[in-house]
Amino acid sequence: MSNVISLDGIMGLGQLKAPVETPAAASGCSSSSCGSSDGPADMSPEVWEKVKNHPCYSEEAHHYFARMHVAVAPACNIQCNYCNRKYDCSNESRPGVVSEKLTPEQAITKILAVAQEIPQLSVIGIAGPGDSLAAGGKHTRKTFQYLQEKAPDLKLCLSTNGLALPDHVDFIKDFNIDHVTITINMVDPEVGQHIYPWIFYKNKRWTGLDAAKILHERQMEGLEALTSAKILVKVNSVMIPGINDEHLKDVNKAVKSRGAFLHNIMPLISDPAHGTYFGLNGQRGPTAQELKALQDECEGGAKLMRHCRQCRADAVGLLGEDRGDEFTIDKIEAMNLDGYDDSKRREYREHVELERAQRHAAKEAARADVVETLGAEVAPILVAVATKGGERINEHFGHAREFQVYEVGPKGAKFVGHRRVEEYCQGGDGDEDALENVIAAIADCAAVFVAKIGGCPKKSLTDAGIDPVDSFAFEYIEESALTYFKDYAERLAQGSVTSRAGMDAVIRPREPLARSA
């Protein structure tokens, strides 16, 4: 097959088996993981074992591993004001949307085909397009049952709104589904009534406060049952300005006290063209800094996830990319899938394991160097990064469909979010409107790190006060960002650059993907 993700592309310059350059010895920290934002240091060994290869649960793993959602669950049991499942355009990317609904049998065929083609695949999830546990969760159960027989090395996970969750806890335990995501947007029915117009529960449609009250109680019951069974629970919350933005701090406390492992606060995606209640009624989504401010405030609560890409219910690939188009049922049937072989996946996982230990030490060394030079009190900055994965700066500015944003300072370089953009460079020509949008999307960043960039966009970025940096091409993101920060802080102290503190940026829905015919 010619469409395999090139591992060289993912790894930057390295070859699959080539050892990574040995970093300088870490000073003042002998542990390979100390200070890492998402490494084993801040979690127990059992938890780390569960999350280390799961792109949605571990920020670090999301640079290396791919997930696949299978759309076997179209039915839903609640209505949300941010969702309209009638609308399905193949150019659109957001939760609840899917191009092809699959039977459990078709789903298994598709999973095995993708597993052969993409060695980074580690996780199979069922996220809808409705609710994975609605309508008795029949298709979800069947799919996981088959999968456990055919490809037991793949991790299973599912997403749900929680309404039917308490009825399925035993099934989740029995099938070793050790990751469950619950979307919880409120812990107060007064808030909930503005988000959920109705739910279907116990053979009845409930509306208003009653609906929100039942949903809330069921969500908490399900969350508690899962965490007491030691199943990792991620809570997703949609940030809706004016409705639950302040309230999400209470949600954060409530889910943390019930043992949620991760809290993922996502921005509302709102556009009249989506036909959702919020979209049609002019409800806006948050800005990048509003989202970040809320996430920062919740940081002390449940561990916060910031790398979510709000992907489609049939997404395939690394987070931030979607190769679902290569694996439609028609195309799978045309593939030759004789024999099932997991050796490529095993080899890839061994390679990542090796690279990972060295990375933890290198990051800590770079951080210690910053503290030694500048002290611990310097204010951090944001930088935007063009990357294809592998934790490296390995994407051309004009080809980036998103920029990852890192907060860099004496505490290290921390991934804090991503910004979607249109590709600036299409068919060799730069598009000026697209460039303006890119600048708006990263306007709160001091610099943008790229593998390569043309002269024109370089000048426009510089004029806008964002430093285009290509001197770290193909290097690791975090070490490069810290090296840059050291220099930046010195220049700032001398007055040769101006601080961008207080700037804000625009959050954009994903633009149409270039779909191959």
Partner: protein
């Protein structure tokens, strides 16, 4: 006495099929349809028509 599904609005999610107490709903040619000879409008089973109550597109209506 029966309900029907407005095919142009149906998203084929199947939520109704799972709820119908009379097994009157089947998937045919890209959409769900209600067999009027089996549909009881849930009389004797539930207070409300289950298909209409669960349908996200509100397309289960009296025939």
């Amino acid at each position: 006495m029966a309900y029907k599904i407005v095919a142009s609005d149906c998203t084929a999610c199947g939520a109704c099929e799972a709820e119908c107490p009379s097994n009157a709903i089947n998937f045919k040619k890209g959409t769900y349809v209600i067999d009027p000879t089996k549909c009881t409008e849930c009389e004797g089973s539930f207070d409300s028509q289950q298909c209409a109550a669960v349908c996200p597109a509100d397309c289960c209506v009296p025939a």
